[in-house]
Amino acid sequence: MKAPRISWLTFLRVYLRSFLLQASWNFENLQNLGFFYLVLPGLRSIYGDELSRDVQRRQVTYFNTHPYFAPLIAGTILRMEERLHAGEDVAVDPDAYKKMVMAPFAAMGDALFWGGVRPLAALIGLLLASQGSLWAPVVFLVLFNLPHLFFRGAGLILGYVQELRAIETIQKCRLPDLAIRLKESTTILIGVLCAYLSFKGCEHQDISGAWGFVLLPIVLLFAWLSHKGVTSLFLVLLTTSSLLLLALLF
């Protein structure tokens, strides 16, 4: 195997460019320009400034994945391009590889980061905010971004070093299971938050905390309505108008 041509500085540039993946997000090809922009410093290291039509064609096709998984795919693609440039065989064409992994990685990233890490970090931040602490936004940002930034960087290196075996490594990490655990923790924190607010409401009204249990079926009803597709906006309008009407009447 030939020595890698891509320097650490180039990797850093690819890593930083991953933060701009979706700058030109469009309905036609979603992240296609973004992915080309992401891998361009690496492609220039391999091929120089003149990129062949084949290389261009491979890297500007339709592309859409979770933005935090894009560096992982970029790492593998750059290693494949290095091999192709060195005249070595690659098991899968880079474009075919992108098409093969982008949807599963998108689903994994959505479940893990949007559905798991983000709500959990937000609820921890919200519990702090309910105490009036201005540290709440800081704690939220730190809790969310530690795994986020690590995942982007580690993904890029993993993709480059392990190539196709990176898929196996990701499978071994059992990220969907981790997402479910995070969602379960989020559910518990929703319960804690609702109970705390309910108790504070009872305290404010100077009534027994046991009345707080009245809120339980209401939250469950709203959750069911939300599950059935009723929008948050409708629920807000319903609740607000009911409470304001009661306040105006009595």
Partner: protein, 230 residues
Amino acid sequence: MVIADYLLAGLVAMLTGLDRVALVQVMISRPLVAAPLTGLVLGNPLLGLEVGMLLELLWLGRLPVGAAIPPDDTQVAVGATVLAFSMGQMLDLVGMPMVILAVLVAIPLGKFGQIFDRLARNVNDRLAVAGLKALSDGNTNGLERRHLMGLISFAVSSLATACVIVLIGSVVLFYTAPQLIGAVRDTGLSLQYSLIIVGAASLLGTINVNRSISLFCAAFSGTLLVLWMR
């Protein structure tokens, strides 16, 4: 509130708006961060924290997946903070009731964010075509430039949303706040907490976990019992 405050708030609207999709995505676009940040530049971060708390959970379950565009809770948070601050000063109405009114007025206006976001992405369609044309001419720098120009579409879309929320919201609050503030005050904590609880319920309804209801009920009952018995 002076012009410089509006300009600073506009800058926050653009920065946090870019974070939603186009740039970095470190979640400064979440209401829990965007609202206190707006409050900070206006000189009242606690006001922003109150706004952020009320809004954070409302649309958290709506995932920005593929071509789906959720309501713009970032600009609702920024706009509501500006409204609570500016209209509170103008009408001499301060405190949580004014924050609640500002949030209630801003929430439906978040729909404009979806419209402007869609427009920005349509503009980017044309940029993408121009970028591919530049590439086919062998001009990779031209493609890079077109790609980065997409940031302008998203920034303008965010700023436009925030402006619409603040402009329409100011007019609505000017006429309705003096009449409604008493009723909002009479609801005590109910209205304030109901917004957070609606958000929590919406999130609970969108979490796809088998045992979500039993986990929620156990956590709710356990916490309430502990607090009650204390």
